[in-house]
Amino acid sequence: MSSANDRPPVEFLPAGALRADTEAERRYIYTRTGPSERLRRSIAARGIMTPLAVAPDGLLLCGARRLRAAADLGLAEVPVVRTADAVEAFLAGVWENAAHREFAPLELAGLFRRLQLVAGLGPDEIAAVYLPACGLPSSPVLLAKYLALADLPEEIAALPLRPSHLFLAAEHGGRDAAALAAVFAALQPSAGEARILRELLADAAVRERRSIAQAAALPEIRAVLAADTPPRLKVSALRSLLRRRALPRLSAWEDAAREAAARGGLAGPVEVKLPPDLEGDEIELRARVRDEAGFARAAEALGSARARAAIKRILAILAGEEA
């Protein structure tokens, strides 16, 4: 093990002399966000206090955000140490970053993938050591989820997605993941809504022998996404549209039950609430009453022969007698 005295000397180089090319970013750099305001202020006040790590040829190994802040602030020179052991420098950078900052999910995904590719670590070691170092539970299953994020198409990183959206999209490959991410970015659904939309879209796609990407590109779905309405209304519209495509027969039974209720006068003062997905043998009858006259209207509606016929029909639908 090297002691502090063995460390290479600190050099001062022009910021522009450091190479942080695409290849380097792919291999070593996992940070996607720029320098924080706190880091920027610190560097503006005192300069870069921890030298950047570079390979002998000037390739940046560690310190991408510090370098960006220095460039933004117009610093003439930055402190660097040259290291011949790129892997050691990379791992030191990982621990340094993990100690003082919160990573976004895609950054963690990049970090864990690079621990495999650059440092040659196996999943067991990454799960046991580096997940806890980043504040996550030591779980191989969780590591697999993050590694799936690392395989998402590059363009997804630029979309406004919540972590739940990313993880859901990452359960699918390439174009399907990109299509799901585009839907989530357009609608900003909650985690639960996103999961339902994903399931319905996948169901509709498999029924119609399409990929998720092909299903998401259908004109009627694109029309919903492009509509000039608030996202929550788009979520509702898309959910309804996809449900009809994925569950046409169930939707038809639900329509028949609602139609029977309307014909039976049970769509006004008294309403029929069907069990979700018709998965039950009871219906709920709701009366909205504001005054005595309203109560009389509800009682009359409920007591009518056509209401009884409607309820009989709806219960028959639930029991599969009309399926």
């Binding site: 029924r207 998965e279 639930l318 599969g320 399926a323």
Partner: protein, 321 residues
């Protein structure tokens, strides 16, 4: 069914079941090795390999509550191996078996001893042999079935159900043990041809069922999973008529019905893998137990349809409903 490659683990090389297997299949390629089976026979599809391994305990496993169909009676399955050479497209083992090839345990005496102890502790246990494997898939498994049947004979209150799609019924112990029920898993012939490759045809299964009825075995018919593509009624009506005919000579039989259901990952996998339309175009919703299944009105209609056509001569139970 004869495997193309037999992997024998060294620990069981001397077991009588292994000797019986080698004697029954003199031409099969056999290797005694600890190596991973697919590495031993890299050119073979997994279902053409058979591994004979050592049973290491935990033979009798409780059946998941959702899969039980006998009210008030404990049910368990025997884990004396896993997988079978059949390649049913809807098989739940697709997403939960840890290996892709059939594995059977060969130290029969150890398993029989554990079964004996389990039945002593739970005298009315109903054990399923055929839940995660097919006990009639390979002819040399007769000693295994016989050993379990012999244990059952010492526990009059217990019952063993041997569930199969295979028709090697001469492997069954004779005369018919009182607490052995032989249950055939059936589906309409067009569906079986498409979704149950590698298994005997439905006509052969029905012939075996009829023969066992005449020989006096207690029988079972398992329509599980019931598949419900468009136009399922005609296929299932024909099957029900054939079942009634096959059971004509039976004195004791029961029937279990269960529509296709499963965890989302399984249903997703079998739909995506469907070479036809029946499973892919099916409508599946999340049922109360969290599994995906057909919508309730369709399930109820199918169960009513089947019970009406199967008649009232034998009890009919549902499973997973």
């Amino acid at each position: 069914m004869t495997p193309a490659g037999l992997v024998i683990r060294p620990e069981v090389a001397g077991e009588s079941l292994v000797r019986a297997a080698l004697a029954a299949m003199p031409a099969v390629q056999a290797r005694v090795t600890e190596a991973e089976a697919r590495a031993v026979f890299p050119g073979l599809a997994p279902w053409r390999i058979l591994v004979l391994d050592r049973f290491k305990g935990e033979l009798v496993k409780p059946l998941a509550p959702a899969e039980c169909s006998l009210a008030g009676r404990p049910e368990a399955f025997l884990a004396c191996g896993v997988n079978c050479p059949g390649r049913c497209r809807y098989c739940f083992l697709k997403t939960c078996a840890t290996v892709p090839y059939p594995v059977f345990y060969a130290n029969v005496a150890d398993m029989a001893a554990e079964l004996d102890a389990a039945l002593a502790a739970a005298p009315d246990l109903y054990v399923h042999l055929g839940h995660i494997l097919d006990p009639l898939a390979y002819p040399f498994l007769a000693p295994l079935v016989g050993a379990f049947a012999a244990v059952l004979e010492r526990h009059a209150g217990a019952m063993m159900e041997l569930r199969t799609k295979f028709t090697a019924i001469d492997l069954l112990p004779a005369p018919p043990p009182a607490n052995l029920r032989v249950a055939f898993s059936l589906a309409p012939a067009p569906m079986a041809r498409r979704y149950e490759p590698g298994t005997p045809g439905v006509k052969a299964r029905l012939r075996a069922l009829a023969l066992l009825a005449r020989r006096g075995y207690r029988l079972g018919v398992r329509l599980d999973p019931v598949l419900l593509p468009d136009g399922w009624e005609a296929d299932y009506a024909a099957l029900c008529a054939d079942i009634r005919a096959a059971l004509r000579a039976a004195e004791d039989a029961d029937i279990v019905l269960g529509t296709l259901r499963g965890p989302p990952a399984l249903i997703g996998a079998i739909r995506a893998d469907d070479p036809g339309e029946a499973l892919r175009r099916g409508e599946f919703i999340r049922t109360r137990d969290g599994k995906l299944g057909y919508p309730r009105p369709l399930r109820l209609r199918a169960l009513r349809f089947l019970t009406e056509r199967l008649g009232t001569r034998f009890p009919i139970r549902t499973c997973g409903e």
